[in-house]
């Protein structure tokens, strides 16, 4: 872990509340890009991401105990997600549950799930990995996924592929499951290497 971040974490877990408050600025500067990208995975909305993250940082300041034994940047992200972000993510959606048909546990699993496959790898690594996996798909599958990731609607993708929206949804579903199998294999290989 970066030496500066290590020092900031030491200050952040100190008993003195003012010292902890002063440590927040360098801590936010060092971690904001990573934390907000991670949150974006679950919310997909930058305004909400900032609101949630604001509370997450204040929670960290108030109760930094879980960060005491953090050893690496990956470990930091994991700890912050499991102990601080998930709680806030659940709160965001708890209010809506009255109008949702999903059970409380399904809602939690959808909006604030356990860490899944490759969830802690860096943004650059993730992009590289997905690029590699998408490259292994069949031409039609690849086209659908690439167009989706470029922000195209399913109707536009269907027009490009000269098929129906329903067929595109089915193609995307099967392709996503295929990608998951590939990611699982990759994660298994990584696990063996470690």
């Amino acid at each position: 872990m970066d030496k500066r971040l290590r020092n900031v974490l030491n200050q952040l877990t100190a008993p003195d509340t003012e010292l902890r408050r002063r440590a927040m600025e360098p801590f936010v500067r060092a971690t904001f890009p990573v934390f907000i990208r991670h949150l974006h995975r679950y919310l997909g909305n930058e305004v909400e991401c900032e609101d949630v993250l604001e509370d997450v940082y204040a929670d960290i300041w108030e109760n930094p105990e879980h960060l005491r034994h953090v050893e690496s940047e990956g470990h930091l992200l994991k700890t912050v997600y499991l102990y601080y972000m998930r709680k806030r993510l659940r709160e965001v959606y708890r209010r809506m549950n009255r109008r949702s048909s999903l059970s409380q546990s399904d809602l939690q699993n959808l909006v604030a799930p356990e860490l899944g496959l490759c969830d802690l790898i860096s943004q650059a690594e993730l992009k590289q990995l997905l690029h590699k996996m998408v490259g292994k798909l069949k031409a039609r599958e690849r086209k659908a996924i690439v167009m989706w990731m470029e922000g195209m609607s399913n109707r536009a993708i269907a027009n490009e592929l000269k098929t129906t929206v329903g067929a595109v949804k089915m193609l995307e579903f099967r392709t996503i499951l295929k990608l998951r199998r590939m990611l699982k294999e990759y994660c298994g290989e990584q696990g063996e290497e470690d």
């Binding site: 509340t17 927040m24 600025e25 936010v28 500067r29 904001f32 890009p33 907000i36 990208r37 991670h38 974006h40 995975r41 679950y42 919310l43 997909g44 909305n45 930058e46 909400e48 991401c49 900032e50 993250l53 604001e54 509370d55 940082y57 204040a58 300041w61 108030e62 959606y93 109008r99 949702s100 048909s101 999903l102 059970s103 399904d106 809602l107 959808l110 909006v111 899944g116 496959l117 969830d119 943004q123 993730l126 992009k127 997905l130 996924i145 989706w148 990731m149 470029e150 922000g151 609607s153 399913n154 329903g166 949804k169 995307e172 579903f173 099967r174 996503i176 499951l177 998951r180 990611l183």
Partner: protein
Amino acid sequence: MPNTHREIQELLADYAVALRDGCLPAFLKSLTREEAKRIRGSSDFWEATEVVRLMNSAGFGDKVVTPDVGLFISRVDAGIASRLKKAGASTRAHRPSRMNLR
């Protein structure tokens, strides 16, 4: 009229679009009981959502980086100040008054 009998692949596609477009609440509200049941029973759906989140992050995660982190830091600090104030107020409220001690 919205389709209220969506198959699992349609539900996943709608979830993915909602996540990508930042309108997950609209997707959650759109679910019928039958669809919620379908989601619950489909391990494929849950496995696919993992990949959708990763795709969302790889494709659109970079757009969330706020240009002015300084402004965000002042918001965090204001939040902390408010919590300090609340904590101070509650400590004062719980402290026994001199009148009571006498």
